[in-house]
């Protein structure tokens, strides 16, 4: 057997690492209320601690199905959700835990849903990849690449027709910029000037393949924007302040009739794509560099520099830990749905009996 030849085209871990930009220190002096900043610090922690707990439960074989965590990418959900109005719409992918929690989904109901329990937010029928909470504006997590960009257009269009000033914000990955639905959606959003903000979370990988080797342009979203008459907007997706300000500008524009935006948030996932994927296809140096740009310690330091006492921050961390523990208890205590659930809510008559 000939030994395999090391080839950086296929052994992605041998490729030159793609390193993060340094922190933009001027963000610290942006005029953002301390309350908003502390709120974002709490959200970052909630998303982080909750996701770590979800991963633990997965390793204990309690999670039904799979999980796609966004550890490392929390600043995107945090900044955007903070800039949104409670009645605005969120659309996310299968990597949608952070977007659901950041819109106010109950952490216990969310965790119970991952465990497939009856007390889950969808009664245990949707699971990790489909978290939805209509009352909170979380319009759904969609596990088919690209589809939900078209769907977000529809929701934005509905808001436009009803004259409600609501804005739809739609999150997706870098890999999604290569599917047709992405292009159909951007064109439609632009021609009808829909109140929708498309947010590409560029974490440099589509599943296990580096995005640059499958994409015609260096910046998967930003470099496509001009084709749809949109500005190329790039933001540091690991800086909550930067994300918040960019989000606010795009959402305000959409709300005031200025039409859609496409934003590329540069970020990185600390873990693998899903389940227990160790993410070994990435250069070690790259992973280390991005972990060094972890949004949470950076934001912690920024808040200290801005004068928040350390106790305030530890207080928030402890409070969140309590919330996550309570959520875990709640989730584990839920009953498993019975087999009858299989036939419920297939059609509006409640069931599927007439067909079975």
């Amino acid at each position: 057997m000939p030994t395999e030849i090391a080839d950086p085209r296929y052994d992605y871990a041998l490729r030159p690492p793609r390193l993060p930009q340094p922190v933009d220190e001027s963000m610290a002096s942006q005029p953002i209320d301390t309350d908003i900043r502390l709120g974002m610090y709490r959200k970052l922690h909630l998303l982080r601690q909750w996701s770590k707990r979800a991963h633990d439960l997965f390793l204990q074989n309690l999670v039904k199905g799979t999980t796609h965590l966004s550890l490392g990418q929390e600043a995107v959900a945090t900044g955007f959700s903070t800039a949104m109005r409670p009645d605005d719409y969120t659309f996310a992918t299968y990597r949608g835990h952070a977007h659901s929690l950041s819109r106010g989904m109950d952490p216990g109901e969310a965790l119970a849903e991952l465990l497939g329990r009856s007390n889950g937010v969808l009664g245990g029928k949707g699971g990790s990849m489909h978290l939805t909470d209509v009352e909170k504006g979380m319009m759904g997590s969609y596990a088919i690449i690209g589809a939900h960009l078209c769907i977000a257009n529809g929701a934005a269009w509905s808001a436009q027709m009803r004259g409600t000033d609501q804005v739809a914000v739609c999150f997706f990955g870098d890999g999604t910029t290569n599917i047709g639905a992405f292009h159909e959606a951007l064109n439609m959003a632009k021609i009808w000037s829909l109140p929708v903000v498309f947010v590409c979370e560029n974490n440099l990988y589509m599943e296990y393949t580096p995005i640059d080797i499958v994409t015609a342009v260096p910046r998967p979203a930003a470099d496509r924007a001009p084709a749809y008459g949109l500005d190329p907007i790039v933001v540091d997706g690991n800086d909550p302040d930067a994300v918040y300000l960019t989000a606010k500008a795009a959402i305000d524009k959409a709300r005031s009739g200025g039409g859609p935006s496409l934003i590329e948030a540069q970020t990185y996932r600390h873990g693998g794509h899903s389940r227990a994927d160790p993410g070994k296809y990435r250069p070690a140096e790259e992973i280390e560099a991005w972990k060094g740009r972890d949004p949470i310690p950076m934001y912690h330091d920024r808040l200290l520099t801005l004068g928040t006492p350390e106790e305030t921050l530890t207080g928030i961390e402890r409070e969140v830990a309590g919330v996550v523990d309570a959520a875990t208890e709640f989730a584990k205590s839920g009953p498993e749905p019975g087999e009858a659930e299989l036939f419920r809510n297939v059609w509006a008559d409640g069931g599927a009996e007439w067909r079975n």
Binding site: L122, H130, Y142, H148, E184, V346, R355
Partner: protein, 325 residues
């Protein structure tokens, strides 16, 4: 009350829906000023404005995705796909999302929307414009599938589809669009989604069909009746949910069934109907169930259409062979 053909009856239903429900809007390629490929939406843009009768780009996934987003966010969209054969770029949206959102979200989201699609051959336009792949959608839990064959049913079923809390695939028989006229009430009325219509009562044999093939089925019934056969003709009208009780009741009475459809034989809806009869009315059967269908091949160019489409002769022959047993 006016004399309308199927295309006009559908137009009248859309008109009524747009005028009676602010949440209704129409979207699709060329549906606005042009009035659609078959002029089914003719005049509606002038009456209701470009905001409610919307010309879209050629982007089937985008159209159905947007319609679905409108539906989950409170509107009642009616999307037109130019031909059933053009729905495949939107197949993901229809199957993965439109059909399943109610189940997946445990009822927290629903998708009340209609997808109108002209279907079927006989217009000399080759495969993509002639498809009759209704079984593909009947197979999908969460969807309803409706196919009118008369103007009166067309108006009533479309208004029922727009009211319906589930997503409805509304198939329009292209070659019947302008083939028949009848009195269609202009009051608001609906035809229930689900029950079949016994178009002709008889006791010797049951002919089962729907949509475009109803024309040939009716003609075959006429020929058989002249020869003294008492023929029962069922127009299914709704393919999902399938009116199994109605089919079984008829076959229990006649003991013979011929199923007629335009789609290829294998795994066509006829197979499901025959299986239902076998499961529930086997001991009433005097002879095996016959299927008269399109062939297991690709829909051909114009010169061979007549050979592909089930003919009146083939239906009559199948019925005669059943009656001989």
């Amino acid at each position: 009350m006016a004399e309308l053909n199927i295309a006009q009856a559908i137009n009248s239903a859309l008109d009524t829906a747009l005028s009676s429900d602010d949440r209704v809007l129409i979207l699709g390629e060329d549906v606005g000023r042009a009035g659609g490929v078959f002029r089914v939406t003719d005049g509606l843009r002038n009456r209701y404005g470009a905001e409610r009768v919307v010309d879209t780009p050629v982007a089937e996934s985008g159209i159905i995705g947007a319609a679905f987003g409108l539906a989950v966010a409170g509107m009642r969209p009616v999307a037109e796909i130019q031909f059933l054969g053009f729905s495949y770029p939107a197949y993901d949206q229809i199957v993965n999302h439109v059909a399943r959102i109610r189940n997946r979200t445990n009822h927290r989201h629903t998708s009340p929307m209609v997808i109108r699609m002209p279907y079927g051959g006989g217009i000399g336009a080759a495969e993509h414009h002639s498809e009759s792949t209704e079984a593909v959608y009947v197979h999908i839990p969460g969807l309803k599938v409706v196919v009118p064959s008369t103007p009166k049913d067309a108006r009533g079923l479309l208004l029922a589809a727009i009211e319906d809390p589930d997503p409805v695939i509304f198939l329009e028989p292209i070659r019947l669009y302008r083939a028949v006229k009848e009195h269609v009430p202009d009051i608001y009325y609906t035809v229930d989604i689900g029950p079949l219509r016994v178009e002709r009562e008889g006791s010797d044999i049951t002919l089962v069909s729907w949509g475009a093939m109803m024309r040939e089925t009716r003609q075959a019934a006429g020929i058989l009746a002249e020869a003294g056969v008492s023929v029962e003709v069922l127009d299914l009208r709704t393919l999902s949910p399938l009116d199994r009780d109605g089919i079984v009741a008829s076959v229990e009475k006649t003991g013979r069934a011929v199923i007629v459809h335009e789609a290829p034989l294998t795994a066509g809806l006829g197979a499901e109907i025959a299986a239902t009869i076998q499961e529930r009315a086997l001991y009433s059967l005097k002879t095996p169930v016959r299927r008269v269908t399109g062939w297991d091949t690709v829909f051909p160019l114009k010169r061979s259409e007549h050979h592909y489409l089930p003919s009146v002769d083939r239906i009559v022959a199948a019925a005669e062979s059943a009656l001989e047993d």
